[in-house]
Symmetry: C2
């Protein structure tokens, strides 16, 4: 019996060694992949694209002149980079105006504070509001307050975002920004001020989108810079009533329709042109800084990736589609429009990836593909491993940001995770500017996206399977 | 002969070994010194002083409400800390008002820029000025421009300050701030904009004092944040004319007299009360940030040092005088007044040191004393060596900042150099706030100042000799 078992095991081992997993890329294609890697690592094209966008356009919130200019810029840039097709798809919304923000501690110790309106907030009126502060350490504490317990007060949530490589401190902090105003209003507050969702120590406040719950009084909401939140906490520690003045001249204009557009460009496939490898970023930015990181980095990477592949002597088998989504910051409007317009041919999107996070090097890749495609993902992971990218064991990736909407419609997806340790120092602030872009990290990340797009366009695999 | 020489050498060696340099401090005094060190390293008093100043007063430029409040605060704090005598000495000046600053690139690519008026600048008028930019990489390049070559233009100097541990990049950069406007005016410019004298990458501009040369047209002068200076350089690189709008509502009011005061407090000496060990800092700050570093750090250190010594069971032999100078930022006005008022008893100031630089740990001490006092300095250096402070070989120290005026009048001086690597990220900006103070570094530095004051008050040496 023992001998039989050994014989069986040996036979199994023999079988195992005889299994040669077929590679998706031929030797020649692998050579091209390495050429593309080298080219991406040597070229400063992605940096030049970001420099052009931030210098010639600047910030570009939907509804602003910058947004209009960015659409023209993107179309022109794609054409200049030799894309085969370039077009726009309209996205509409109603208007929100930021106006100005002013926040002051009035008593017991007067101080000016640096504040910024949260995106979508109502204003206070020109006269502003002045009230005593009700302080909560966390959103949970605010939620736990009794209704009516802070009537007529300005609610202040001082929770500080934690710094982590994967940025998960953001998820723990952003709830106050998104829901805080309505929760504070339910308790009777007349405004919400909160510590910025950010990890820096600058007198620079972080904006970002907020939402009002149905049926709850809409109250103004603003973020304070970290040092100003510290100061307010220190003033509150004295135990005396603390009076704050807040003026936001923000305005929601439900009756004004503003227009933007997704900008789409393609390197047309040679063998399966109808099959789309989608790489994306969002074209809009907040109306502070120049959006160099958010999402200039993504724009630079995906445009350069498609250009490098488009310059090959032979076109890729599948079409590479670069999608620069409109109006991500104000609620993923471009992505929502895209999946509506392209609903019927969503199955043509064979795989996709977006960049909309961080500014460091990619260290991790997570797939979200059919089980039979995992070998192809492992093969690709081997190609990018020398760039310091490890394949995560999970296979449940949703594409980042906008492109998550395509993942939700069944598009196989990949998510590349960069080092996000520094990102929330700059995120949604005036400090999101070109000098924060590290050209070397950008080259490496561009190489990953270029290699991904080429691999996905050449691999003879159905990523849904 | 040879034997005689050997005998002579032996005799010399014997003599040498028999020379015991007398210590300035007795064994008991050395014990007290070590107690003071330990106390400073354990106490958070200096931090609490800075916290109190920045929270309850905030910024305090001469002529502002904050300056008035800071004088009351300092008097009260010295009394609360048990100083034996506390008084103020009036300092007057004429008024300068900052007003608001606005800078924009108008063409070819419109951008808002973050700018701040240099201290002492004239305004542009409410309507602002708009003109093409004449770009210079350095002040030397501006100086080299032909008179009339930039008539009607806005001169822009883009020189970037270098980061160094001893802050010497400041000296190389600050000339543009101080003299740039008059040099630009001589060449025909109608305004000066310059890259901030700072090492950070924030959208925060650095202010600081400037001067107009006699007989030269006074033109408005402002600093741009580093990222905005980068942006303007990148726009200029396109080679098209670049038009900038500048509005400063600053105002020089030669006819308005403003008042401030040096605040002085003493721990009275027991044996030689007329002999003064002076430790100082400046009480004023720029009207941005809360002056936590500049010069809250110094205020915290020297007040805590005097307090620790004042709490000893036995008073020090000499008097320890804490001088908080008025109006350092606008031209060392408090220091100038001090040496005028105390001219006749300047010789009573046996030694002095100020803190007005950096935010890191002290790593170097330089003396400026009589040659016969060098042994005493070496002895003191031995006491603070375990704190990581090395004695510099030179003996030509001038006290820092304000107290340099006392050094110039013959006061023996010591200068303690801290790590200044980070200082110019925050210097003269809104970001000079409490969160930048490192409590551990502060304890160590407070220990050095406390030990210095005690040693100087107890040492039986004439530091002028």
């Amino acid at each position: 019996m023992k001998n039989k078992i050994i014989a069986c095991i040996l036979a199994c081992l023999s079988l195992a060694t005889s299994i040669v997993v077929a590679k998706e890329l031929t030797k020649d294609e692998q050579k091209v992949l390495m050429q593309l890697k080298q080219q991406s690592m040597q070229s400063d094209l992605s940096y030049q694209i970001i420099e052009s966008l931030t210098t010639e356009v600047g910030n570009r919130l939907m509804g602003t002149a910058g947004d209009e200019k960015s659409i023209i810029w993107a179309v022109d840039k794609m054409k200049a980079l030799g894309f085969d097709k370039v077009w726009t798809e309209e996205v509409t919304s109603t208007q929100w105006l930021r106006g100005e923000a002013k926040a002051q501690i009035i008593a017991p110790y007067p101080h000016d504070m640096v504040a910024i309106a949260l995106g979508g907030s109502v204003g206070t009126g020109e006269q502003g509001i002045q009230a005593d502060v009700a302080h909560f350490n966390t959103l949970a504490d605010l939620k736990a307050a009794k209704p009516g317990s802070i009537t007529g007060k300005i609610a202040f949530v001082s929770y500080r975002m934690e710094r982590h490589i994967d940025g998960h401190g953001y998820g723990k902090a952003v709830g106050t920004r998104v829901q805080g105003a309505s929760i504070a209003a339910e308790k009777g507050a007349i405004a919400l001020i909160m510590r910025s969702v950010g990890t820096d120590d600058n007198r620079t406040a972080h904006t970002g989108v907020m939402r009002y719950s149905e049926g709850i009084n809409k109250i103004p909401a603003a973020a304070l810079s970290n040092p100003d939140a510290d100061l307010l906490v220190n003033v509150l520690k004295r135990g005396k009533p603390v009076s704050v003045f807040l003026k936001l001249t923000s305005e929601i204009r439900e009756d004004v329709v503003i227009k933007s557009a997704n900008v789409i460009g393609e390197i047309t496939g040679s063998e399966k042109p109808e099959e789309i490898v989608a790489i994306g970023a969002h074209l809009d930015s907040w109306d502070v800084g120049t959006g160099a990181l958010d999402d200039g980095l993504g724009i630079g990477m995906v445009m350069a990736a498609a250009h490098h592949i488009g310059q090959l002597p032979t076109a890729p088998k599948r079409t590479i589609r670069v999608i620069l989504f409109a109006a991500e910051e104000v609620g993923l409007l471009g992505a929502k429009e895209y999946v509506k317009v392209h609903d019927k041919n969503m199955s043509n999107h064979v795989i996709g990836a977006e960049w909309d996070f961080g500014l460091g090097r990619i260290y991790k890749m997570k797939s979200g593909v059919g089980a039979q495609s995992l070998n192809a993902m492992r093969e690709f992971a081997q190609y990018i491993a020398p760039l310091g990218v490890a394949l995560a064991p999970e296979n449940n990736a949703r594409a980042q940001s906008d492109m998550g909407a395509l993942s939700d419609k069944g598009m196989p997806s990949v998510s590349f995770s960069p080092d996000g340790t520094q990102y929330f120092d700059y995120h949604h602030t005036e400090n999101d500017t070109l000098d924060k872009v590290n050209p070397d990290d950008l080259k490496q990340n561009t190489a990953v996206y270029t290699m991904f797009a080429y691999f996905a366009a050449m691999a003879d695999v159905d990523f849904r399977q």
